[in-house]
Symmetry: C2
Subunit: 226 residues, 2 copies
């Protein structure tokens, strides 16, 4: 026997990316008008096929880079979707990843080139195949992770106000929070510190700008919000 494996079937393996953004107090999703058959012209997640010379994580980063021009996005695998008929074109097994992208990093030009656009999270059109399931799974996973790990900062600009931070977590959890209780909790987190600067764009009074201090978090990596 030269190679035990060769008698088994091989499959196309794809990556699909659920790309979350946050602007104007709302979560949004980056979706794409599909430019090839099957389902050409319909809305879908950004995706692509895994190549021989890359791991699946590398493939996910490459695909995301092609669309956004950004190489260092926070990404996490959600799960793999392998129903037989999920892609009517041909059997494809697809690994879903979610990514978090900060508004300051949006490269509108690059995104437009790919027929992609941001859609308000609770107003996403019907997507092709099982992409709606992928989005649902990604939301669930992202929410769980965000409640227990400081990944949310990847959705905010480097410097942010406490009101922004609160509205982010309200959007993630889908429920309103008490301002004073929220600020009390933030005050107890040494890894969220003031920059000394003020943001005057959001109010007449101006709000203090805070930042996430990774070095502090790494000293004592505990996080619990929501």
């Amino acid at each position: 026997m030269k190679n035990f494996y060769c008698e088994y079937s091989k499959f196309h393996v794809a990556i699909d990316c659920i790309i979350f953004g946050f602007t104007g107090g709302k979560l949004s999703l980056l979706v794409q008008k599909r430019s090839f058959e099957p389902a050409k012209g319909q809305w879908s997640l950004m995706g692509g096929f895994v190549r021989k010379d890359e791991s699946i994580d590398e493939a996910a980063h490459r695909i995301l880079f092609e669309l956004t021009g950004l190489a260092d996005l926070y990404m996490e695998q959600v799960g793999t979707f392998g129903e037989i008929g999920r892609d009517p074109g041909e059997r494809v097994i697809s690994v879903a990843y979610y990514a978090l992208i900060a508004p300051e990093k949006y490269d509108t030009g690059n995104i437009r080139n790919h027929n992609a656009c941001w859609m308000d999270m609770d107003n996403v059109p019907k997507l092709i195949f099982d992409h709606d399931d992928m989005v649902a799974a990604a939301k669930r996973r992202m929410r769980e992770k965000a409640s227990v790990s400081p990944i949310g900062f990847n959705l905010l600009p480097e410097k942010f106000t406490l009101s922004q931070l609160q509205s982010l977590y309200e959007a993630i959890s889908g429920s309103a929070m008490d301002k004073r209780n929220f600020r009390k909790k933030v005050a107890s987190m040494k890894f969220i510190g003031t920059t000394g600067e003020k943001d005057k764009t959001g109010s007449r009074k101006g709000a203090v700008l805070y930042r996430f201090i990774k070095e502090e978090y790494d000293k004592e990596p505990e996080f619990k919000i929501l």
Copy 2:
């Protein structure tokens, strides 16, 4: 263009199963001596390749059935492992699933036929390839899920004592619990009810046997232990 997909690479896709058991107050793992190259004779997870005519979930159930003879095990996908050199034989992308198996269901004969055996959880030998990573990920996922959903009962016999239940959750969480606090919590869960029977094997006095009442749980599906 006849088929847009055909220019892309195809991959072997495998399933690897992390099979958890619980006996004698300890979690255990079902591992297998590999009967083919590469890495023949070394310890590995139970696995197999996905076939053309089945979804990946179906493949996972099939593989588990071949080993255990059981069709209705609790299973959940952990994640997909796709590093290029993870299998030195050939490029294989592998989807890991964990399964929970109750001691009363152990079919020792069938398991032996597959060169498989139960290993005490914190005494598992070094496994091939990235199987140790898979086990670590599965443990993490199983613990998280078990703390918030009543999947643990899949590791117990139909009828169990409160001491058994407590030692299960101690094993899952890796930390001791207070007996009175634990029983208080259990008492507040309407979906854990007494059977009226007693188990005399574990002590002279005998302990009341309880059971998980799915119908009750479904009425008000909330669970929080640990």
